[in-house]
């Protein structure tokens, strides 16, 4: 009896040891994030104003703003989304639903898994050679967006595959039993049921892309740029224009880095303020991803 009680005590002791270790580990991460955020807010919150968002960079810290940077980041992400989503989702569906189990599929799968681990600068070099020099897209929004699209493509493919795998096989079988073709099954069952998971993956991919600097610098984003890309709407027929795709650009992380490396203390405050904006953008995107996942989960009734 004593023996058993002693053993239970030891087991309970180790149980609480692990509980405390786990709790402390969690707090380390949270405390670091909290310190970082407080530090950013203390330095940068004073600079956050309407003017900060609507001003171009300047040599006077108080007049400098992030207009060209956030517009650049937004347009680059738009191109990234337009390129990565159709390619990534189609690849994911193909691999899960159509591809047979053979050596070709194996090679594709191994390569996608490897691509997810390639450092981002390598994608930058690839984009420099392919888009800037070979296709002659120049150092443009299009090049930057496509470079980031390459970077998040493996993430989108993985997310699509995970989402599709979560759909029970009985759904497919029921659809085939009613005489649907493979495409009809994919179109009316697989895609709608996996949309939540796919969108979550896409948004998390995009929120990684927004903070990426290395590939964007490699393809030649600029540091000082005090004008906006051309407008997507034109007064002449056909009223929309894609000229902005070929315009030079800068993005938020580059603007921040430029300010951090300036001698004047006031520029450090600008950098902190831009950091807050970037952080809030990322948090919003992640929050949106969580919301979408929640909504789609609620809608699906199997």
């Amino acid at each position: 009896m004593e023996d058993i009680k002693k053993r239970i005590r030891t087991i309970k002791f180790w149980n609480s040891v692990f509980w405390i270790t786990g709790l402390l580990s969690t707090f380390v991460g949270l405390a670091l994030l909290f310190t970082l955020l407080t530090d950013l807010f203390m330095d940068g919150s004073l600079r956050l104003s309407y003017k900060f968002f609507t001003s171009f960079p300047s040599r006077f810290p108080a007049e400098a703003g992030i207009l060209s940077a956030w517009v650049g980041s937004f347009l680059v992400l738009l191109v990234t989304a337009y390129a990565a989503i159709p390619l990534g989702v189609a690849t994911g569906i193909y691999l899960e639903e159509y591809a047979g189990k053979n050596w070709l599929t194996d090679i594709i799968e191994i390569n996608i898994a490897n691509l997810a681990g390639v450092p981002s600068i390598v994608y930058g070099l690839l984009a420099l050679g392919l888009f800037v020099y070979f296709f002659k897209f120049g150092e443009s929004i299009l090049t930057g967006g496509l470079a980031l699209a390459l970077l998040i493509l493996p993430m989108v493919i993985m997310a699509t595959r995970e989402a599709i795998r979560a759909i029970p096989n009985s759904i497919r079988e029921a659809s085939y039993a009613l005489g649907a073709t493979k495409w009809q099954t994919v179109q009316s069952h697989i895609i709608p049921y996996s949309t939540g998971g796919i969108l979550t993956g896409i948004i998390i991919g995009l929120s990684r892309a927004i903070g990426e600097t290395a590939p964007i610098i490699t393809v030649g984003a600029l540091t000082f740029i005090a004008f906006l890309p051309s407008s997507p709407f034109s007064s002449e027929f056909p009223f929309i224009s894609f000229k902005w795709l070929f315009d030079p650009f800068t993005v938020m992380p580059i603007q921040m880095f430029n300010w951090v490396s300036r001698p004047q203390q006031e520029f450090q405050l600008n950098a902190a303020a831009a950091g807050i904006v970037l952080m809030i953008m990322t948090l919003l995107m992640n929050g949106f991803a969580i919301y979408i996942r929640y909504r789609f989960r609620k809608k699906i009734k199997w």
Partner: protein, 335 residues
């Protein structure tokens, strides 16, 4: 219905793309890239120029470093290149290969400052020889204490901070002190971000470091400037606007340049930009804490541009301690 919508979307996209291709060359964009040291000056000029032109001309400025800037410039990808040292022989060759002719225009002076912690009481001045003892490659792992450099300095560890190997600042410092560009000991804290160096020196009593004078001006209270003994006159000289301009602060002051492609200079907007640059340089250079050239020198540089005088004054070599007088003499010889 859906199909029609998709088809009309595709049609619109194709038309818009055609529009892009046809109307592509309308915009007036001046592309500038290169040294991070020259960047603040060019940025200031670009900002003012765009305001003056009310957005009719667009200017972009990148930071690829002097070497990276020349790479793009000599392939014809940029119109103007910022440089914190004269163009080198191998860069001249690349330019020649691509048929790029350039006009070399000095725009300002930059001084490199040697700095210690304010609590450092023992250093009152330094000679080039002492700096060489500290920074030459052979010093790595051996000169680790202050008294290894000079016997009367304390037996305290010597902590070194310097510009990173990709910067023109590192190239120039090693050229001036060690005698060979890029030749330095490896065991020091190197950073491309000069603020990291400022923090390092400000927080360590035994630190010694070097970087551009502009960073000292912004951090006067945290750092102590070391006067350097001019090897020709034997006098110890503090870096300042005056001593950099009159050439007594040697060998650690240098001219900085912009290189304009001759072909690009034919375009009216680029001609106007360069003229604006040279006319307003003196005022703007001071605002960003660099040292302007004497007024007479700017006149000569403007003439040089007006005559579209191509080529370099430096013969493709890294040169140290170029005084403003010599530069002027060379200019006069050139005409």
């Amino acid at each position: 219905m859906f199909k029609k919508f998709v088809l009309s979307m595709i049609a619109i996209i194709i038309m818009a793309t055609v529009n892009v291709v046809v109307a592509g060359a309308e915009d007036k964009i001046i592309k500038i890239d290169g040294s991070s040291t020259v960047y603040p000056v060019t940025e200031a000029v670009a900002e003012e120029f765009q305001k003056a032109k009310k957005g009719a001309v667009k200017v972009t400025v990148g930071i690829s470093g002097t070497g990276g800037g020349f790479k793009k410039f000599c392939r014809g990808e940029t119109d103007i290149s910022d440089a914190s040292r004269p163009i080198l022989k191998k860069e001249m060759d690349v330019c020649k290969e691509h048929g790029i002719e350039y006009i070399e225009l000095p725009v300002a002076y930059d001084g490199l400052a040697v700095m210690v912690n304010p609590k450092n009481t023992w250093v009152t001045s330094m000679t080039v020889a002492e700096l060489k003892t500290i920074w030459e490659p052979a010093a790595g792992g051996k000169i680790t204490k202050w008294n290894h450099v000079k016997a009367e300095w304390p037996d305290a560890p010597l902590k070194l901070y310097g510009a990173g190997a990709d910067s023109g600042t590192f190239d120039y410092f090693t050229e001036a002190i060690v005698g060979k560009a890029k030749s330095s000991r490896g065991d020091f804290t190197a950073s491309e971000d000069d603020n990291v160096l400022v923090q390092g020196i400000a927080g360590d009593k035994n630190a010694l470091g070097f970087f551009g004078l502009a960073y000292y001006e912004e951090n006067r209270d945290k750092l102590k400037l070391v006067p350097i003994i001019n090897p020709e006159t034997g006098q110890s000289v503090f870096p300042s606007e005056k001593t950099v301009m009159d050439g007594t602060y040697q060998p650690l002051s240098r001219p900085i340049f912009i290189y304009v492609s001759k072909k690009a200079a034919g375009k009216p907007e680029i001609k106007e930009f360069v003229e604006y640059y040279l006319k307003n340089a003196a005022k703007l250079v001071q605002q960003v804490k660099y040292v302007p050239l004497p007024a007479k020198a700017y006149k000569l540089v403007e003439e040089r541009f007006a005559k579209r005088k191509t080529g370099t004054l430096f013969g493709g070599e890294a040169k140290v301690g170029v005084k403003i007088e010599d530069l002027l003499k060379r200019e006069e010889k050139g005409f």
